[in-house]
């Protein structure tokens, strides 16, 4: 087996074909990405714990199996990483927090089991905001991840290392989690594809919870096809996850390559023009994408829903209440062991009235029913993700200002599948993004629309120059 091209930017689909046909060695591939990570990650902090020894063990096993003709499928020999709130047997799951230092996982998370069974090459545990809520923070045992397009800028979060590592070419695929936007935010800011699937589509067992009724496990990759391939592997019912949906899964690549003629695309414009005022470059990117989809044959119209603020208030009331219930004991006993950002954001749930929590869940049902009714009029919806390009990571006021300026949380409330896709770059060279949202379990259609848009633009071919 021999190397082909720049291995850092191979897609999962490209790598899979090279690996299957024995033109690329899994060991050579893993070694190339290990070397790249060792060379550059000191400047980006994508990894909390890189595990090159485990990667090479997986890669050698994959190589032996492929050489024997036992190719397991498109993830066999492909490197991946896990946000460090996802369990991998024998390794610490720290949630990027002093609180969980030394918390060794006794079993794999379900998503880890599935990636290992597919023959993936595990590269390590990736940075997160503390407990998937507090960051970017400089008062934790490990530094925060930084943006691969400009290390002075925020990379989004909370699946920050997953976005950075994928965007930086340290690996082609990573797992993140999303409770108020934490897969889609780093995807938008790092210029990669991030899917928050339908609530319950992917098991959460073995993942440190933030808020039970809003938590989703999701996928970050550099192309739409890779994202669909990865979701194919990890989706599925888990009877031991109370939130798991017992629904047919798979076939997420089935519609890729089909055109979008006649697909009804609703532009949810008031989120980023009226409810919040997005940066003009963000808004311009979405408008250009809508125009592009129309040129491709989609039927584009404007739609509306409840004001963004209602969704966000509902999300934050539920999120902080459920999260504080998880953290109350540690808040009593070890408040000093949290970073300041996580502590303050978690403490927001300390004194939420029970009636307010219940009313938020009652509003959630109304908002969800009304939102799903929109899919009588349209097939997919496009709207903003972040309202601003990535701010400087060392500017706490800018981080605080932009943290809540997003329109991702509504789809944690509704449980809808939502995909973040790049729409270009700001004048400063930072990625811009939007979301494509569908009705429950319509991931295949979302990928179809995203793929058609991706193929009609050239954002996917652009890569950052690392320092």
């Amino acid at each position: 087996m021999s190397a082909t091209g720049d291995l850092a930017w191979l897609t999962v689909a490209e790598a899979a074909e090279l690996l299957r046909t024995k033109k690329l060695s899994p060991v050579e591939y893993a070694n190339a990405l290990i070397a790249r990570t060792e060379r550059h990650d000191k400047n980006y902090n994508a990894y909390l714990r890189a595990t090159p020894e485990l990667a090479l063990e997986d890669a050698r096993r994959a190589e032996g199996e492929i050489m024997r003709g036992d190719w397991r499928g498109p993830f066999h020999g492909v490197p991946y990483g896990l946000k460090d709130i996802v369990d991998y047997t024998g390794l610490p799951t720290t949630a990027h927090s002093k609180i969980l230092q030394g918390n060794i996982a006794k079993a794999d998370a379900v998503v880890t089991q599935k990636l290992r069974a597919a023959g993936g090459v595990f590269m390590g545990k990736l940075s997160t905001h503390e407990f998937a809520i507090g960051g970017p923070s400089f008062d934790l045992p490990w530094p925060p991840a930084r943006n691969p397009w400009n290390r002075d800028h925020f990379c989004g979060g909370s699946s920050s290392g997953s976005g950075t590592a994928t965007g930086a070419g340290f690996l082609p695929a990573a797992i993140g989690t999303d409770t108020g936007g934490s897969v889609r935010n780093p995807a938008s800011m790092c210029g990669v594809i991030g899917m928050k699937p339908t609530y319950g589509l992917v098991s959460r067992r073995g993942v440190v919870p933030l808020a039970f009724s809003l938590d989703h496990v999701g996928t970050l990759t550099r192309t739409v096809r890779d994202n669909a391939l990865m979701l194919d592997l990890i989706a599925g019912h888990d009877a031991q996850d109370p939130g798991s949906a017992n629904h047919a899964t798979g076939g997420y690549t089935a519609q890729l390559g089909r055109d979008v003629k006649g697909i009804r695309v609703g532009v949810l414009r008031h989120f980023y023009t009226r409810d919040m005022q997005a940066d003009p470059e963000i808004a311009g990117g979405i408008e250009a994408a809508a125009k592009k989809l129309a040129e491709l044959g989609a039927e584009v119209c404007e739609i509306s829903t409840a004001p963004l603020g209602e969704y966000i208030a509902c999300n934050r009331t539920i999120l902080t209440s459920e999260a504080f219930a998880i953290h109350e004991k540690w808040m009593r006993e070890r408040p000093q062991d949290y970073g300041a950002l996580a502590r303050e954001r978690l403490m927001a749930g300390a004194f939420v009235r029970a009636a307010d929590y219940v009313n938020a869940t009652r509003l959630r049902r109304k908002l969800t029913d009304a939102f799903h009714a929109l899919f009588c009029e349209v097939d997919v919806i496009i709207t903003s993700s972040s309202m601003d390009p990535a701010c400087r990571i060392d500017d706490p006021k800018a981080v605080e200002y932009t943290y809540g300026r997003q329109s991702r949380a509504p789809f944690n409330i509704t449980g809808s599948p939502a995909l973040s896709v790049p729409t270009g770059f700001s004048k400063n060279g930072l990625p811009l993004g939007m979301q494509i949202v569908g009705k429950p379990f319509s991931e295949a259609l979302i990928y179809r629309v995203a793929h058609a848009y991706e193929q009609a633009t050239d954002w996917v071919s652009m890569h950052p120059t690392l320092v």
């Binding site: 009724s213 939130g243 629904h247 902080t320 009593r332 300390a350 509003l363 049902r365 799903h372």
Partner: protein
Amino acid sequence: MTNDNLTIDDVRKMAADIGMTRLSEGQSQELLRATQAARARRASLHTDKLTPADEPAHVFSLTSGNGR
């Protein structure tokens, strides 16, 4: 109690009532800010839209039949 009259002493007492007795002065200030923000958010929860029959989403489930 509204945000206007919520004081650091109030918050310290509320914290003590739920066993959070180890907060430093700075951490108590964080709790005050967090509690004020949470209360301010209540205004955006439009409970006036709810009728007595509106059920909570305690059991949140989805099927492909949702939507179209």
